[in-house]
Structure formats: structure tokens, C-alpha cells
């Protein structure tokens, strides 16, 4: 093939391609290579490939050198190059040896693909699937993502409802990060975890001398969140007395620290969260109606994970990436069987439970894929049984055989009784036993007297 035809052929390829001789000098350089590296063909030809290509691996693990030494190609290795403009460009490279017509090795060929476009697309896709670290592409989550910036922009009190582990604190943080108050602090208090007296001093602080051992002033969470956002988690668990005090702060925007005499202005955006049905608590008289309406200004409901199962693969991917980074591991993901098991699990603990399941699996999995054996016992114990109690992956015929065997065993081989239980005619059962090759139960013969 004439030289210019070779060049035309290479120039028509969208990937960068260059060839080198056995001295590592560039012998051809196509148009896409010029475009990606920013180096003209005439400048590249005859030069050392490392000075033209400037890849992160030139010095330590040159793929072409490896290919020429082992005669094995390298396929889609991801590295970066520094182009003529000083930009780091992620690329994937593939290499192969070059031989002449007589089969003698004359050099190597390297093709490379600019991954910037791929990364951009991935970033765009991820941006649609997450919002301030909240992951999801289900309709419920998309609706939440749409509402968050709007709600964050206002200063209204927000009530976050949702079961435990659905990410109420994550949403509260997102509301803070997106709000004009983001320069100040985000403070979270778990109201359910503290007895009244402690919660009071925790929220409002105390002045020196308020009680024994109160030697100096201690600022409360309201003071710490001044100008920022205060998350009152598990608001449904606070006592009626505390509800009263809180209502006053929310209404009048002032509070008095324990033992203090001067009222202090409260300037914190309140986000309340609960996993309880506050309306029900109001009906039962356990939650003040006026406080309920004071915090129920904007309500955001976080769906349980079982109602957005389509987000499970995305969440799994997110946690696998996160644990790989945190634990310095190289786990590729979860096997199909594991994903199927996770998809059918109800996750009463929601996203937190899924996170814990994967953290458990990461401890046991050394690399490659997370398998069923790496899952916690409560998910693994059903390894052989599906949700119905039957082994997973059965065909209809196998299931029929299993049910017939079971019925025959229970009725000690009595076909008539077994047929009655199965709701079929005895002759139908006989036919099925024969067709499916069901073994006769031996219980009666072993324990009782022989039939003949």
C-alpha cells in the first residue's frame, strides 16, 4: 500500500494512532493524535515517543515497551498525558507489535482515545443521579432534588419525615449547603437521645452559676447555629414540657439560657426531622398541635428504600466506590446474585442498612466481585430459599416435584391423602409421580411392617 494511502487510512480513524520503531522513534502520527496531543505530525516524526506522547506511564510502565517485550497487546489501559498546552488529558491506550512482511518485529503501534468526552458524559449522568451526596434516580428522589434548591432558598422551617436510615440528616445538610446560610454552621441535635434537663442545657446553653459545676457560660446549640441551620432530629420524641419551651423559641425567636436573665435572639433556620407520624401523635395528645403547625411549614417526605428499589444498583455502586476509596481496596462491584438478593430484600433499615451490608461485605471480600458468601448472615441464610421459602432458581417442574415429594412424605406415601392435600385427583398425582420420577417415600416401610 503506498505511504499516502496508509496515512489517509490512519487519518480516518477517530482514535489517536502512532507507531514507533525499535529505537522508540515515532514513525507515523495520525491526525487524531495531532489533535489530542497538540503536536503536529512533522514535529512528532523521528522524535522519541516519550517526548511526543508525554504519558504518566512513559517512565514507569511504558505499555509499548511491555508489549514489545512480551509480544502481548495492552488493551484499554487508562492513563493521562500532558498535551502541548499543559492540560492533563485522560486517555485509554491499546498497544500491539508491528511486524514486516517477513514477520520480523519492526516496532509497535499505540492507539489512544480521549476520555474527556466520556468523563464529561459520566459526570453529567452522575449529576442527574445525585444531589449534594443524596443518590437516586427514582421519580420520588428526582422530585425531592427539584424541591431542595427552592426550599433551601427560603428561610421557612422544614419538617423532614421518613423512616430511620432514609437520609434525613443528609437532606438537612443539603438544605443548609444550598441556603444563603451556608457560610455559618450546621448543627444537629438528637432530641430523642437526651433527657429533658440535658436537652434544655444542650439546646439553650447555660450561664455560669446556673447549677453546681456550671463554672462558666456554655453556649447551646441554638447559639452555635446562630446564622446557620439547626437540625432538631427525632422531634417527635420530646416531652410536653420541652415542646412548650421549643414552641416559645420558634414563635418569639428568643430564648433564655439556663440561669441566664437576658433573652438571647435566636437566628437559626430550623429543620425538624422525625420518623414518627406527628399527626397521629397530635391526635393522641402526645404532641402539641400548635408546635406541629409551627414546624409543619414545608414538609419533605423521604421515601423508604423498598419504595425506590430502582435506586439500589446506583446506591450499591456509590457505596462500592466510597468503600474502595476509604479502605484502599479494589472491589469491582457485586455479583448478579448479590444484586438480585439486595433487590428483593425489604431493607427495614433503609439506605443505612444497605450501607452496613456493603461495609460488612467489604470486610470479607478481598477483591473482585462481592459474592453471596460475603453478605451478612440474615441475607445469606436465605441463600437456598427464596421469599416463598422455596429454593431460588427452580423451574416449574422442579417445584411441582418438590411439592409432591413433600406431600407424600407428610402422608407417609399415601397417594390419596397427598392428592387431597394438593387438590388433584389421585390418578393425576400418580401420573405426575411417574412423569417427574418422584421417589417413593420410605418412611412407612422403614418404620412399619413390609407391604409384602
Amino acid at each position: 500500500m503506498p505511504q499516502d494511502l496508509d496515512d489517509q487510512l490512519l487519518d480516518s480513524v477517530p482514535d489517536g494512532v502512532f507507531t514507533v520503531d525499535t529505537e522508540w522513534r515515532v514513525t507515523s502520527f495520525n491526525r487524531a493524535a495531532e489533535h489530542i496531543t497538540g503536536i503536529r505530525r512533522q514535529d512528532a516524526l523521528g522524535r522519541r515517543c516519550c517526548e511526543v506522547f508525554r504519558a504518566s506511564i512513559c517512565e514507569s510502565a511504558c505499555a509499548l515497551k511491555q508489549t514489545l517485550a512480551t509480544r502481548r497487546p495492552v488493551v484499554n489501559k487508562v492513563v493521562y498525558i500532558v498535551n502541548a498546552a499543559g492540560q492533563r488529558i485522560p486517555i485509554s491506550i491499546s498497544t500491539a507489535v508491528l511486524r514486516d512482511a517477513r514477520g520480523r518485529l519492526v516496532g509497535g503501534v499505540e492507539s489512544f482515545r480521549d476520555l474527556r468526552l466520556v468523563e464529561d458524559l459520566q459526570r453529567q449522568a452522575q449529576a442527574q443521579e445525585s444531589f449534594s451526596n443524596i443518590i437516586g434516580r427514582s421519580a420520588a428522589m428526582r422530585k425531592l432534588f427539584e424541591m431542595l434548591p427552592v426550599v433551601a432558598g427560603s428561610d421557612s422551617t422544614v419538617l423532614l419525615t421518613g423512616a430511620s436510615g432514609t437520609g434525613k440528616e443528609l437532606v438537612a445538610r443539603a438544605l443548609h449547603e444550598l441556603s444563603p446560610r451556608r457560610a455559618k454552621r450546621f448543627v444537629a441535635v438528637n432530641c430523642g437521645a437526651l433527657p429533658d434537663t440535658l436537652l434544655e442545657s444542650e439546646l439553650f446553653g447555660y450561664a455560669a452559676g446556673a447549677f453546681t459545676d456550671a463554672r462558666k457560660d456554655k453556649p447551646g446549640r441554638f447559639a452555635l447555629a446562630q446564622g446557620g441551620t439547626l437540625l432538631l432530629d427525632e422531634i417527635g420524641d420530646i416531652s410536653p414540657a420541652m415542646q412548650m419551651r421549643l414552641l416559645r423559641v420558634l414563635q418569639e425567636r428568643v430564648y433564655e439560657p439556663l440561669g441566664g436573665v437576658e433573652p438571647v435572639q435566636a437566628d437559626a433556620r430550623i429543620v425538624a426531622a422525625t420518623n414518627k407520624d406527628l399527626r397521629q401523635l397530635v391526635r393522641e395528645g402526645r404532641f402539641r398541635e400548635d408546635l406541629f403547625y409551627r414546624i409543619h411549614v414545608v414538609r419533605l417526605e423521604l421515601p423508604p428504600l423498598r419504595d425506590r428499589r430502582e435506586d439500589i444498583p446506583l446506591l450499591v455502586e456509590h457505596f462500592v466506590t466510597r468503600f474502595n476509596r476509604l479502605q484502599g481496596k479494589d472491589v469491582a462491584g457485586v455479583s448478579d446474585a448479590v444484586l438480585a438478593r439486595l433487590m428483593e430484600h425489604d431493607f427495614p433499615g433503609n439506605v443505612r442498612e444497605l450501607e452496613n451490608v456493603l461495609e460488612h461485605a467489604f470486610v470479607l471480600c478481598r477483591g473482585g466481585l462481592i459474592e453471596l458468601a460475603h453478605l451478612p448472615a440474615h441475607l445469606r441464610s436465605g441463600e437456598a430459599a427464596g421469599p416463598s421459602g422455596l429454593p431460588a432458581g427452580l423451574t416449574l417442574a422442579a417445584m411441582e416435584k418438590l411439592l409432591i415429594c413433600d406431600a407424600l412424605r407428610r402422608h407417609e406415601g399415601n397417594h390419596a391423602a397427598a392428592a387431597r392435600e394438593l387438590g388433584v385427583n389421585a390418578s393425576t398425582l400418580f401420573r405426575k409421580v411417574k412423569r417427574l420420577g418422584v421417589a417413593r417415600p420410605t418412611a412407612r416401610r422403614a418404620e412399619g411392617r413390609p407391604r409384602r
Partner: protein, 138 residues
Amino acid sequence: VTVAIPIWQERISPVLDAAARLLVVRQRRGAAVERREVTLGVLTPQTLARSVAELGVEALLCGAVSEGLRRALESEGIRVVSDLCGEVETVLRAFARGRLHREDFAMPGCWRRYGQPEVSSRCRTARRPPKRRPAKAR
């Protein structure tokens, strides 16, 4: 002046961002009075720049360098002369004699014949045009 140069196989390392060894040379009146070699780990641009600055380096001669790393080095007060190639000793000698602008030391893509319009603003030739044309370049 204390000058540093990333080295690989007795030549300038092709990519500073991925270089493993750094030669630090203190030159006085064009002659090396002290030399030492340090190993570079996998560092962020800021950490690498700080480490190089802590070695007392005033000028860094290198091959390709990413813009991020260049900025980090320059913010530490280090003069970066990039897009160089060639044998380390020859480059050091040329630096001492002020002859680094010669075409033999230029990486491809960043060296154009003087006067050509497409000279990249990044190339050192663009920032410091030579006073005279080398005869061989014609």
C-alpha cells in the same frame, strides 16, 4: 543558583507530574558545587511544589508539566523552564551558559521556528525570545 531537574535514564524526565527522581544542583559561576538526588512520591501539585521549594530550588528545568503543577511551583517562587528534553548534564551546562533556547533542547510541539505565528504562549521560546537566530535553524 539552585536548580532542579527531574531525571530518567540520564535524560530529563518526560513528564514532571509523573517523575520519580529529582536532581538538585547548586551552581556557582556556572559550575556545580553541590549535587543531590531526591525521590519524588505520588504527591499533589501543592505538596510537590512545597517539597521542591523546601529544597531551596530557585529554577526547575523539566519536560512536560501540567498547568496545575506549574502554577503551584510558580506560586512557591520557583522559576519553571519547561518543555525541555535531552541529556541531563548537557541541559545543565546549557542552563549555566544561558543556551537553553537551542532547538536541540526543545520538546516537539513547543518549539517553532522563530517568527512563526502559531508559537504557543506556553512555550518558553515565546516568553523569552532569543536575541539571535541560531545558524543551524535555517
